[in-house]
Symmetry: C2
Subunit: 249 residues, 2 copies
DNA sequence: TGCACTAGCCTGTATATACAACCGCATCAA
DNA sequence: TTGATGCGGTTGTATATACAGGCTAGTGCA
């Protein structure tokens, strides 16, 4: 009824991915070598090689000949998941990033937030509101809700120094993301915080990120339409695509 | 001087990818089987298997046990490359797609178009302007320039039936895309064609697609901000991400 | 102390072989 | 005519083996 036995290389891949996503193996940790898998799992080295090679191809681990196999940093994936950390993005252009935390508290989920995070209405969630600036010009208003059980230390963070996205990635690799991009006319508070003109449109990115198979964060990212654009580049399969948010020059 | 000999499996992969991208092998065509590669390339079957398996993983080919290996339809990739064919997208929602061709001619490239396509200013390019509708409501204004040498039959196409994106994909698989997303206030002609209100923002997608390593098409896609949004979902590595454009309900 | 070398582990590639499952088609039997 | 059978080609998986090349730590020599 349940179906065929999965191939062994697939079973072992899933077991290792499971260990990574449950946090038993963290970025930088050593993964069993081919020979260790041969001994522990009773498979041939070619099969062990396939397990680790495919995990490498899929970005879960990094392999270094002569050294070993290690759980990958999830930075590359974060490009996709976070439209790249906005602080890194700004630094990459040689500009200066600064941020102000306008709000940081445990609030109650409204209907929209509850639906997005899969929790009950009025359940406790961490809520943070941050303005990000590039060389003093406001470029993003981040309105984010975080599942309290996922990141219990949220209220102690200094989000001027570490963006919420980076903080969340550090807790556990964010494995899945869903985002929606809209053009909209911002309401008064948003317009004020972004120093936008009266009838200027904004680019609104609504994002949910997932870890351990459930939504852990829900964010609305507002960007001034005349100073910001999203760029994406899709390269042929086999190479890694990149997505970035950039300020219009 | 030139460097290491590449591994044979890699050489063979590149040779087959080359045949696909030069159009010698078209979607649906049969790719040499593992045993044929064993004979023709003088390699072992395990190596031939790796060649075809990785091409399959990277989406270049489809493999069917007991039948053979065939060049893949590039539909899946087109989701990424074309923000999914808008006609398919609308049909997928059970709605009716219609389109009007407002302009279809060989025009001269201005500076922006010339730069985007890597041609000289005033060089001849095909220019097409189309309004796409979902159940009679205009949802996209497509302002596209196509490299004449790439698609010489452009002027004979009926773009009410086949979208330019689908037409171009049929000529040769589009292998690479670059896009920019902005929020903007449309100018008068765009606003009129999309039946948009006076101060309504639009979501503007600017896209270049590449084939054979060069830009072949440049398009500006305008969408009414209150009726359209872009959705993306990034799944864990190993699964294929999808990107779609959807109308707001 | 400092340096060169080597042993040992690791990944990367490649071969030869084996068995299972799947598919299409031709052949054969009812 | 219809249905069943089997064969050959194809992919999918797995093993055992081999050699090359990279890296590290420790050994031993100067």
């Amino acid at each position: 009824m349940t179906g065929q036995a999965k191939p062994r290389y697939q079973q072992l891949k899933e077991e290792i991915i499971g260990r990574i996503s449950r946090g038993e193996l963290k970025p930088g940790d050593r993964v069993p070598s081919e020979n260790e898998l041969v001994d522990s799992a009773g498979i041939s080295r070619m099969t062990a090689n396939r397990v680790l090679r495919e995990l490498n191809d899929e970005g879960y681990v990094d392999r270094v000949a002569g050294v070993g196999t290690f759980v990958a940093d999830f930075k590359a994936a974060s490009h996709l998941l976070e439209v790249r950390n906005i602080a890194d993005e700004i630094a990459h252009r040689g500009h200066r990033h600064s941020a102000d935390v306008l709000h940081l508290a445990a609030d109650r989920a409204d209907h929209e937030v509850a639906a997005a995070l899969g929790i009950r209405v009025r359940e406790r969630v961490f809520h943070v509101l941050i303005v990000h600036r590039e060389n003093a010009a406001p470029i993003q208003l981040e309105d984010r809700y975080v599942l309290a059980s996922f990141a219990p230390d949220t209220l102690e963070q200094d989000f001027r120094a570490v963006t919420p996205g980076a903080y969340l990635s550090g807790i556990s690799p964010l494995q899945e993301a869903e985002h929606t991009v809209r053009a909209a006319i911002p309401d008064e508070p948003v317009r004020k915080n972004l120093r936008m003109g009266a009838r200027e449109p904004c680019l609104l990115v609504i994002r949910r990120t997932f870890a351990h198979g459930r939504a852990v964060s829900f964010a609305r990212l507002y960007h001034p339409g005349n100073r910001f654009e999203l760029k994406g580049h899709y390269a042929p399969p086999g190479t890694r695509p990149t997505d970035t948010g950039v300020a219009i020059q």
